[in-house]
Structure formats: C-alpha cells, structure tokens
C-alpha cells in the first residue's frame, strides 16, 4: 500500500513515499515561485528514487504553506498536525516538538497517543526563525550548513544583545570589524537563535521526550544550544528532521487508505 506526503514550504518543498510503515524514498528541492510546479517536481524525484510512478500512489496528502495549490493531493492537512504525526510515528515517546522552518517557528505539545493539545507559532518576527540564520550566514559569507559545523570550533562565542534580526545584524558587523573569528561569530549566532526559540518553547511547557524538526534542526550548534538552554536532551530522529512534515502527511495518507 503506497502513500505519499508532500510538504510545500516557503523555502523548500519535500516529498516522502511510504509503503505501509516503511519509508521507501524522499526528496527535497528549493521552492520555486510556483508551488504546483515545485510539488510535481519533488514528487517525481521521490518516485524516481523508488522506481514508482504517480499511478502507484494510492493516496497523497499535502501540507505546508503552499498546500492549497497542489493539484494531485486528495487532502490537505496543516503542517502542525503533520509534524506531530511524523514525530509520533518515528518516536512515540515524543511529547514536545520544536519545529524551526525557514520563516516561522512552532512549539507543539503532544499527549501520549500523539494528539496535539497545545501549540504556539511565531511567524511575525524573523528572529527565532530560519530566516535569522540565513541573514547571518550571508553576512558571514558562509553556507547555512557551515554555520552549524564551524561553531564547534568556538571557544568564546560572541554575545548578541539584540533580539531583532536587523539590530543583531549591526552587532555582528561590529564584531566582524573587531576581527572576531568566524567560529565565535557562528556560535554566538546559534546561541542567540536558541535563546529566542527557547522562550517560545517554554511558553507551551517542556515535557520529555523533546525533539527538533525542520531544516534548522540539522544545525548541530543550534541543537546543542537548545539542549543547554532548556536543560533537556533533544531526541535525535532517524529520519532527516526537515522531512517530518512530509512524513507526517504520508502517514496521514496511509491512514486515509485504511479508512481511518
């Protein structure tokens, strides 16, 4: 029984193909201006990797920011529900999810059976979202991935006093002009990011196990800073955390096929 999930985000579009509970394949591309086109493209990539075609997919669920624009899905579900579904599917002990996307951040609380009973979103302020890191990486002339890896070499992370991305940018420029090493800049940026997200997370309450999803979860600097900030370990999931929304969508699709 083949099901699929397609997550059209603001920056990236993801697809996951499931055979019952087995993950057959996944793909991710940069979102184009046309969500419909992005969705087709990423699905074709994911299907190609699994040697399947569109006709083999029994049910596809769409999620993410651009979900209403995907032509081939039979149902759309919010990304909050999909992240919860995906995380609970992989690791039923998860009670708190911190999802940092390219333009927003969410903290979600789950009950023991995986139901959402509380969540909070920030999509008003760029600080505390992936955009903050993107702006900073550009400033440092680093790739987004490097921002995480390079920060490990830091011995004295810079301290950023400003929350606002615009003001923090000015602070970082000052530190660059002072000749601060890139590692210390990157580590300080990751810590500032984690501090901001931790406030949002604490406002829904932290219950173990906790995991991070979304693209920023791949930044080890932010992940470790979050653990320090919240004083709890972050449960590492066995699937790329950026795929969680698409995975959850695929799990929902399977349930639909089972008539749930």
């Amino acid at each position: 029984m083949i099901s699929a999930g397609c997550d059209v985000g603001s920056l990236t579009t993801k697809a996951v193909i499931l055979n019952n509970t087995r993950l057959l394949g996944h793909a991710m591309i940069r979102s184009s201006i046309n969500p419909e086109k992005s969705a087709y493209e990423v699905m074709e990539q994911a299907l190609k990797a699994t040697r399947l075609s569109f006709d083999d997919v029994g049910f596809c669920v769409g999620t993410g920011y651009g979900r209403e624009r995907i032509g081939f899905v039979k149902k759309t579900i919010s990304e909050i529900s999909c992240h919860a579904k995906g995380a609970h599917f992989l690791q039923p002990s998860i009670r708190t999810i911190i999802d940092i996307g390219g333009q927003d951040c969410k903290a979600i609380r789950l009950s023991a059976n995986g139901e959402i009973f509380k969540f909070i979103t920030n999509d008003k302020c760029a600080s505390g979202t992936g955009r903050f890191l993107e702006v900073m990486a550009k400033l440092l002339g680093l790739g987004l991935e490097e921002l995480g890896s390079i920060s490990k070499q830091s011995s004295r992370p810079i301290n950023l006093a400003s929350t606002c991305t615009v003001w923090a940018q000015a602070e970082v420029i000052m530190h660059i002009n002072d000749g601060m090493p890139s590692a210390d800049l990157a580590a300080g940026i990751n810590e500032a990011m984690a501090a901001r997200v931790a406030i949002l997370a604490r406002s829904v309450g932290i219950e173990k196990d906790v995991c991070m999803t979304g693209g920023v979860a791949k930044n080890a600097g932010v992940l470790e800073a979050m653990e320090k900030q919240l004083g709890v370990p972050m449960r590492r999931l066995r699937v790329d955390p950026q795929m969680m929304g698409a995975l959850g969508a695929a799990v929902f699709a399977r349930e639909k096929m089972e008539g749930k």
Partner: protein, 261 residues
C-alpha cells in the same frame, strides 16, 4: 551669553547654539564611528556658522545615545526630556511629542511646563523606527529623502501583511516583481510605519496637541501618514524637526549656566 546643545544620535549628530531666546546656528552631520568625534565635528560646524569659538560657549549639554561621550559637555540630559522641553518651548500648546529616530521611536507626554509626565519607547524592534524606511529605500534603490515626494503620487497604497523589517523587505521585492507602482509601495510603507508608531503613542493615550520630531518627521509623506493613522492634525515645528533634541539640550544648558539646575 551663548549656550549649546549637542545631540549624538545613532545615525546623525546635531548641535545647536543659542543666545538668549534665539537659535544662532545649528548643524547636522552623519554620525562618525566614534561618538566623541561626532560631537567635535558637529559642534565645530555650528560654531563656524555662528562665527564663534568654543571659548564663547558658557555651557554645553549633551543628549542622545552618545551623550556621555561629548567631551565638552558640562552636563547630560536624556533625549526624552530634551524633546519634551524643546517642543514646549517652540510650541507651548503641545502636550505630546512623537519622535521617530533612526533606531528608535518615542511617544512623550508633557505638561504645560515641558516636563515629561509619561512616555513609551521602542528600540527593540527595527520595525517602527526610521530603520524600517532606510532598509526599504535601500532595497528599492531609491533615496530616503525622496520617499516623501514619491509617496504623494500614490493612488492606491499597498497594504503590507508583514510588520517585521526582514519579512516586509521580501514582501516589497515580490510587490515590485508583481508590477506594483513604486509610489503605491512607498505610500504603503509610510502607512505601515505610521500604524506601528501610532499604536506606541496610543499605549500612553493621546493627549492634547501633538507634534512630530526626529529625522523621519522631515519626510512629509510620513508626516501626513501619521496624521491619518492618529486621526488628528499634527502641529508643525518651525524649526528642523531633526534638531529638536539639540535645542532641548541647549535650553537645559541655559538653565545650567544660570544656576537654575
């Protein structure tokens, strides 16, 4: 007796020289990296215009973000107090000052003597400060000083859905790509900033006659947009709204020199 006020802001430095009840000279420069240097340069500019030297100044008071770095200041005063004092001195009927600077915005309520009775302040979030317009002007490739004139050609100002400077910048770029007219975008930006500042002002309740000070007040498009957002007519200052803080500092210097403080 000559007195002076020196206002070292984040983006610009201002100096005013007064004699009795008259403003003799003023000067505005872009801030230098070092606030002490800004103070010296802007003060020299004002002194030169007045045909005076530093020895002629009985007392100078510093204000603004870099006030403690003004080497020749005898005393310092907060910019909130200075804006209140100067606004009342220039327009005695004023009971509220809305000051939008390069990196902050303030709403200040004053009594009939110019004393501050209540104020609200934003320097946490760049949206709602002059930086908002600065960033947008840069991303549209237009001059900050031209925004006012451009906005008066707006037919149907855009309604921005984002407040955050970072997100709004992306929105602006897509509006340009979507073929929206530049005046409509600029008009929409003024509207957005005005609403942000108006809610700051409302947080301390609007009271009496209101004036607008700070560099952003020179932008006539913003002046009109703020009037609309507040639903009141604003009092126009006869002096450059950017030097109001420095005038306030000079007034404090006058009191200090007279031994009144």
């Amino acid at each position: 007796m000559f007195v002076a006020g020196c206002d070292i802001g984040s983006l610009s430095a201002k100096a005013v020289i007064m004699k009795d009840d008259c403003i003799v000279a003023s000067s505005v420069i872009f801030a230098r990296p070092e606030p002490g240097e800004s103070a010296r340069v802007v003060m020299d500019g004002a002194l030169e215009k007045a045909g005076l030297s530093m020895e002629d100044i009985s007392c100078c008071v510093g204000t603004g973000y870099g006030r403690n770095a003004v080497p020749f200041a005898r005393a310092v005063e907060s910019e909130i107090a200075c804006h209140g004092k100067a606004a009342q001195w220039l327009k005695p009927q004023v009971r509220m000052v809305i000051d939008i600077g390069g990196q902050d915005a303030k709403a200040i309520r004053i009594d009939e003597t110019g004393k501050v009775v209540r104020y609200a302040y934003n320097d946490r979030c760049a949206s709602g400060t002059g930086r908002f317009l600065e960033v947008m002007a840069a991303s549209m490739g237009i001059d900050l000083d031209d925004m006012g004139d451009i906005s008066f050609q707006a037919k149907n100002p855009v309604a921005l859905s984002n407040q955050c400077v970072v997100f709004a910048e992306t929105e602006i770029i897509s509006l340009i790509h979507a073929g929206r007219d530049l005046p409509d975008i600029v008009g929409g930006l003024h509207k957005a900033l005005s609403h942000r500042v108006a809610s700051l002002a409302r947080s301390i309740e609007l009271a009496g006659e209101i004036t607008m000070t700070g560099g952003v007040a020179k932008n006539q498009g913003m002046f009109c947009a703020l009037q609309e957002a507040l639903g009141v007519e604003l009092i126009r200052m006869d002096e450059d709204p950017q030097i109001i803080g420095a005038i306030g500092a000079a007034l404090v210097a006058r009191q200090t020199a007279a031994g009144e403080r």
